[in-house]
């Protein structure tokens, strides 16, 4: 009985402590590089500079609009803040082969990985694409956004600038 009670307390604490106990690290799971080899997401890093992780798919129009819009400004973003964008495709066997030709065809300069089994998507609690996460210089996920509307990229860049200047975002 006491054990059960203890467990209940543990449970209560762990849930109530969520907001501050959360380390918000990037979960480490295996995804694929576009050449088909394996990459562990625990190895994502950007030398202490901010990282954008964007979940997308070749069949998702808003995703492509977002990444194409950012692509136009990406060079300036990198120059100004050192940010790195990781485009994580959730395409499966049907469309996986189209990822590299699409990325190259569009001339994207992003780091691209594929999550055909949905492992990284599940680990990060992504419902649907596009879904964007922002990671600070310490590798902590500090912000997220689901869906894309024209112009969302400006808010994203404002946040990236704050992070690159070491400010916190709330």
């Amino acid at each position: 009985m006491t054990l059960r009670l203890n467990l209940l307390i543990v449970l209560f604490l762990s849930f109530s402590a969520l907001s501050f106990a959360q380390n918000n690290e990037i979960p480490a799971v295996d995804v694929k590089k576009i050449d088909g080899t394996t990459f562990n997401t625990g190895d994502i890093e950007n030398d202490g500079k901010p990282i954008i992780i964007n979940f997308w798919a070749t069949w998702c129009s808003p995703c492509k609009r977002e990444l194409n819009n950012i692509a136009e400004m990406y060079e300036e973003w990198v120059e100004e803040t050192g940010v790195k964008l990781i485009a994580l495709s959730i395409d499966d066997a049907r469309n996986m082969g189209k990822v590299a030709p699409y990325v190259n065809g569009k001339g994207w300069e992003y780091e691209v990985y594929i999550d055909p089994n949905g492992d990284f998507k599940r680990a990060l609690g992504v419902n649907n694409v596009p879904h964007t996460f922002l990671v600070d210089g310490n590798g902590k996920i500090v912000w997220q956004h689901n869906s894309y509307s024209e112009g969302d990229e400006y808010e994203l860049f404002e946040l990236v600038k704050k992070l690159s200047e070491g400010e916190s975002i709330d």
Binding site: R4, L7, L8, V10, L11, L13, S14, A17, L18, A21, Q22, N23, N24, E25, P27, D35, G36, T37, T38, A57, T58, W59, C60, S61, I90, D92, A93, R94, G97, K98, A100, P101, Y102, V103, N104, G105, K106, G107, P116, N117, G118, R122, A123, L124, G125, V126, N127, N128, H131, W143, Q144, H145, N146, S147, S149, E150, G151, D152, Y154, E155
Partner: protein, 557 residues
């Protein structure tokens, strides 16, 4: 009360596992501290609810419950190399068009896993795929109610550089239960460049893979002697050299009489080959696929999307514009098809004649799918092999799609995307409607975005689908206003103006709005929903016409 005890037991498992893996010498208090301070919980929540109105004009039936809803919550706890998770699902009752097996509430997904240097073990539910999935893929598409996850044990092991082995055993999910069949399998993948030192610096990257799956289901059939164990094997290769990539997989399945194939004893096989070349501003993909009698389920009597063990990808473009995506989308024919696809993307640079000031992108795609060639053997009473098939011949045309898309930015404020598609759709076979004519349709779509300033923009879509068959011509107009980064408002009308029956020339109007902030999103819409086929990730679901108010809430944390 049920939830309460569930959470308690979840907590006990969590604690037990954490303590076990952290090491028995630690005191419980330290373990608890660790659970609290170093663990992370992530997850997501979704609720969709619809209030249904009877609308006899569009054929929307009265729904006795008036309100139907689907919802789920995922919780995943991670602490270093240890992880566990649960999902609670609720269907009270399921939204129209969702598989009817989803009724009620319950915990459908729970797992625990740990990873050590070379080994990773998962017990409980998991999703896994071998290669391209030709013989094994368990997968979820919550929005469509597709979920054939495993319940059992998975072990991943990396014994040597470049070599990874995966072993699985379990039963597959069927709504709130598990299918009776047992699925077991092994996959080996070898990345040559990591495994063979002579290739370490080679420009050519080679990955080889081999897998085997066996399913067991007792034979309780009175008519035939059925194989209780059915095996399938597959081999694959993935080669990348600079800008080139080739990905090929071949699969073979032993005789597997089932409801799908009419209980014939013919073995099945599938071949999938994809080659691509791409460099900056140019991408080309060529793909071919042939599958013959490759329906593979852990229950031979099942149909639809239930208890599928494998995945046969469709080689057609996955469209997103409404009329193109939901009126005549192709669905893979498990019993047999030969399909080809070519996909080209080209970017005209800024400053070139066609590129103009901002550049222009052109995409071109051709896809076809035919039946395999078959010669009937009429051996129902003897060998029951069913038919023979010539690899180099094709049967009846199932589907053809020739489409092109141009994306162009005209100025800082205006950009557009223009699509044309020519479709041939064998409705008789794809939707199982005997006797209906083959549909030939031309589709034109203009999608133009006008940006007032950094925050405000208006996107307009005008779509036409012209056909002499089925319901005749359709038009769609959508206006979507967004106020970044939190709000959007949209109105839409779909008009079946070309229907032969003047009474069926119906407007399907719909208004919606959405708000999102952080990981949360809320969408509200009101109006009519045309009957259609909704596909996500290659899985399709037929949705009946409906009318009413729809609410969707999603949250990730």
């Amino acid at each position: 009360m049920k939830n309460y005890s569930l959470l308690t037991s979840a907590a006990s498992i969590l604690l037990a596992f954490t303590l076990t893996f952290i090491g028995g010498e630690l005191k419980a208090q330290q373990g608890i501290d660790d659970v609290l301070n170093n663990g992370e919980i992530r997850g997501n929540f979704q609720l969709e609810a619809q209030y249904y109105q009877e609308d006899s004009l569009i054929g929307a039936q009265d729904v006795p419950e008036k309100i139907l809803s689907n919802g789920f919550l995922n919780l995943i706890y991670t602490n270093g190399s240890f992880s566990m998770g649960v999902r609670y699902e609720s269907y009270l009752n399921a939204l129209l068009g969702f598989p009817e097996g989803y009724r009620g509430n319950g915990v459908t997904y729970r797992f625990a896993s740990f990873t050590q240097e070379k080994m990773s073990v998962t017990v409980g539910n998991f999703y896994e795929q071998f290669g391209n999935g030709l013989i094994f893929r368990t997968y979820e598409e919550r929005g469509l109610g597709y979920d054939n996850m495993m319940d059992g044990v998975r072990v991943k092991f990396k014994p040597a550089p470049g070599l990874s082995l995966t072993g699985i055993t379990g039963k597959q999910r069927l709504f709130f239960e598990y299918g009776e069949g047992i699925v077991r399998g092994l996959d080996a993948e070898f990345y040559l460049n990591d495994g063979i030192s002579a290739l370490a610096n080679s420009k050519t990257q080679i990955i080889l893979g081999a897998s085997g799956i066996s399913k067991y289901q007792p034979d309780q059939d009175s008519r035939y002697v059925l194989p209780e164990n059915v095996g399938a094997v597959a081999g694959r290769v993935n080669i990348t050299h600079g800008f080139f990539n080739v990905n090929a997989e071949y699969a073979w399945k032993a005789n597997d009489p089932s409801a799908d194939n009419g209980y014939i004893y013919r073995p099945g096989e599938a071949l999938f080959v994809q080659a691509s070349y791409s460099r900056k501003g140019f991408g080309l993909v060529l793909a071919a696929k042939r599958n013959d009698n490759m329906s593979f389920r852990s229950d031979r009597t099942e149909g639809q999307q239930n208890l599928l063990i494998n995945y046969l990808p469709a080689l057609t473009k996955q469209h997103t514009y409404n009329l193109l995506a939901t009126l005549y989308p192709y669905a893979v024919q498990l019993n047999g098809e030969v399909a080809f696809q070519a996909d080209l993307i080209y970017k005209f640079d800024k400053g070139s004649v066609l590129g103009g000031k901002y550049g222009m992108d052109v995409q071109f795609n051709v896809a076809t799918a035919n039946n395999i060639d078959t010669t009937m053997l009429n051996d129902e009473r003897t060998t029951r092999q069913g038919y023979t098939s010539d690899w180099f011949k094709r049967g009846e045309l199932y589907f053809q799609d020739i489409n092109t898309q141009i994306t162009k930015k005209f100025s800082k404020k205006v950009k557009g995307r223009f699509t044309y598609a020519n479709l041939i759709y064998n409705q008789d076979v794809i939707e199982g409607k005997p006797g209906v004519p083959v549909i030939r349709a031309n589709v034109g779509i203009a999608d133009v975005t006008y940006k007032f300033n950094m925050r405000n923009s208006l996107r307009t879509e005008v779509q036409f689908l012209l056909t002499e068959q089925d319901q005749g011509d359709w038009a769609t107009a959508i206006f979507e206003y967004s106020y970044a980064p939190h709000w959007f408002f949209a109105i839409m009308d779909q008009y079946n103006y070309g229907n032969e029956d003047p009474e069926r020339q119906i407007h399907y109007y719909n208004a919606s709005m959405g708000y999102n902030n952080g990981g949360n999103r809320i969408t509200l819409s009101y109006g009519r929903q045309r009957a259609g086929i909704f596909c996500v990730g290659g899985v399709c679901r037929v949705v009946p016409a409906s009318s009413g108010l729809y609410l969707s809430l999603t949250s990730s944390f």
